[in-house]
């Protein structure tokens, strides 16, 4: 009897899992389909384009490396968005938090001398994480103490972060080497760089570990229980004696720390210094990744890889199939649309609605 029940519940679990990924998969398929139609309408071959895209992303060790490199910051910003989501917060500020993480890591990377390689890299990573996290505390505190909605404050803080990092890279932290005229920091020391083993960047491993960490915090710890309770029903959280204000700020800090470490990893593993124009849309990409991954930390990884692969392969696609890279942005927007408009996908694919935790994010902007 017990065994039978166990088998049944296992079957149920498999069915639930399939059901839960059906909508994202359907959304991706629909987005690719409409993308194909756009490509065909503009006179190119969709099939060729997608083949070239896949070849560019996965066709070689070099392709894999590029894909994973592009995936890494997307995982981090996706985690930043997904983590905040769980507490009912919408962090659009991943962009700014990432910039702070990146420039702090760069500063530690070029200004601190004489440390052994592993330690130096770790120090820079930690500095970037903390910088990002602290920057995320601002919207958290504004939300708790004044009621200012985090969507607007994080967008505003993105511009502030851009201005501030631009000032730093143009002023105190500027690369003064002869011949440099642009706003950038000096190159970080080799001891602060993160290695890439063949096609596997170290940063990608960190990103996966970060996802595991996020999952553990949310699902296995008492803090995670508080975060989810605040997201689901802040009134009940208060009634139960949880410190809602503290939880909101802490959630924003952790969320922003994910973005901060993402910026540090990008600096130390890929770019090698801080430069302007650094991954301009990562904040919004994070939203797509988080929703495509159903705001589940483990869902974020494949979602980020999909987007990362599209980014990594788009060069090859442009070269081989003469399709502009930006088609990937179009497809990405369509994915986001179909994931968000899950009724459409459900209706098309005849999938039943699932019961679960739902969060409304956008209610009013201002102070109460």
């Amino acid at each position: 009897m017990a065994e039978q029940q166990n088998q049944q519940s296992q079957k149920g679990a498999v069915r639930r899992f399939l059901q839960s990924i059906a909508v994202p998969l359907g959304a991706v398929a629909l987005a690719l389909l409409i993308g194909a139609i756009i490509i065909e309408l503009s006179g190119a071959s969709a099939w060729e384009a997608y083949v070239a895209l896949a070849k560019g992303a996965f066709g070689s060790a070099e392709g894999w490396r590029r894909t994973l490199e592009k995936t890494t910051p997307l995982i981090f910003s996706g985690l930043a968005v997904a983590f905040a989501f769980k507490a009912g917060l919408f962090n659009i500020g991943a962009q700014g938090q990432l910039l702070f993480g990146a420039i702090t890591a760069a500063w530690v990377g070029f200004a601190v001398h004489g440390l052994p390689p592993g330690l130096h890299a770790a120090l820079a990573l930690i500095a970037g994480t903390i910088a990002g996290g602290l920057f995320g505390a601002i919207p958290g505190a504004l939300k708790t103490y004044t009621g200012a909605h985090e969507v607007i404050t994080t967008i505003m803080l993105n511009y502030i972060a851009m201005g501030f990092t631009d000032y730093l890279a143009n002023g105190p932290l500027k690369d003064r080497s002869p011949g440099n005229i642009i706003a950038r920091t000096p190159e970080i020391l080799p001891s602060a760089k993160l290695p890439t083993w063949g096609w596997l960047p170290f940063g990608f491993i960190l990103a996966v570990l970060a996802a595991v960490f996020a999952w553990w915090v949310l699902q296995r710890t008492t803090l995670g229980f508080e975060i989810r309770t605040v997201g689901q029903n802040p009134h009940a959280a208060r009634y139960a004696g949880m410190k809602v204000a503290r939880t909101v700020i802490l959630t924003m800090v952790i969320s922003a720390a994910f973005a901060g470490i993402g910026g540090a990893v990008e600096t130390q593993g890929v770019v090698g210094r801080y430069e302007p124009g650094f991954n301009a849309n990562l904040g919004f990409d994070g939203i797509t990744v988080a929703l495509l991954g159903k705001t589940n930390p483990f869902g974020v990884i494949p979602a980020a890889m999909l987007l990362g692969a599209m980014r990594a392969g788009s060069n090859v696609m442009q070269f081989d199939a003469h399709v502009a890279q930006e088609i990937t942005d179009v497809v990405q927007a369509l994915m986001l649309f179909f994931v968000a408009a899950d009724q459409i996908v459900r209706w098309l694919l005849r999938i039943r609605a699932e019961e679960g935790e739902k969060i409304t994010l956008s209610t009013g902007w201002g102070s109460q």
């Binding site: 927007a333 968000a340 902007w365």
Partner: protein, 339 residues
Amino acid sequence: MSTPASFANWKLFWKRWGIGLSIAAVVLAVIFYFYARSPRVTEAVLASTLRQSVPLVLGALCGLLGERAAVINIGIEGQMLMAAYVGFMVNVRTGNLLFAVLMGVLTGAVLGALLAFMSVTLKIDQIIGGTVINILAIGLTGYFYQVGLSAQGKLNPIPLGPLAKIPLIGPVLFDNPPITYASIVLVFVVHYVLFHTPWGLRTRAVGEHPRAADTLGINVYLVRYVNVIVGGALAGLAGAYLSLEAVGSFERNMTNGRGFVALAVMIFGKWTPFGAWGAALLFGFATAMQTQLQFAGKLHIPHQFIGMLPYLLTIVVLAGFVGRARPPAADGIPYEKEG
């Protein structure tokens, strides 16, 4: 008997207009001081302020039309960008500037309809709906963008007869291209519609208490659709301004965050057209000063910090540090009919 009453009236008057009037007085004083010292520069800064404010005020009007009906529009950026692109392309193909502007406006309206469909009919989270539009606009304009296209001309200033000859005021206010004039007129139009017509009353009711509106036979969905679509048209006009009046060509991502700043302008202006206009001018002024300082290189404040000011101010306003900003009560909440 009449003294306390008139005193109360005066207090009410001050409460309502005091901050605006004080700011206006200070601004005027400062303007005249600088005009006396360096007329050319002052004129240039003020003219630039007005020009910079045009897309912001149009975007903010778009945002507040939506939010007064409780639909948050964070896709203004995308609506502007797409409209800028379409307007430009139509101008390249037809050379008809008026038609190009109209197509830009139509593009904005179509995207408005898409947002309304997502947030009113599908009841998608409105922030996500707006983000879809933003990413879609970046993708589509980037994908279809062709390098090296050029258009014949752009919208030129139309001096308003003798008015344009008045010193300082003339060149700043009465010698502008058409969309700039239109943006000023639209501030008054939107104010009139929102606060002096049945439609405006219904819009505000829908934004505050949609169920109450519903029980009085007002079609909540229709009101939301129309406002968001008209708002989209205004954002489209802002886009047309960028590509057809300000620059005369299209560049990738040329909106450069103006759509988001417009949201800030709307909040700063406390969801009113005149407030938004004032805020847009303030933000425009900050941008104009930033350029001016960068150019002159006199002050020792890094120009980035002046550029940050509008964003900081927005946060300050939003946090309620200077007066409370109260958004429409139902803002962002999808309306579910019962039964």
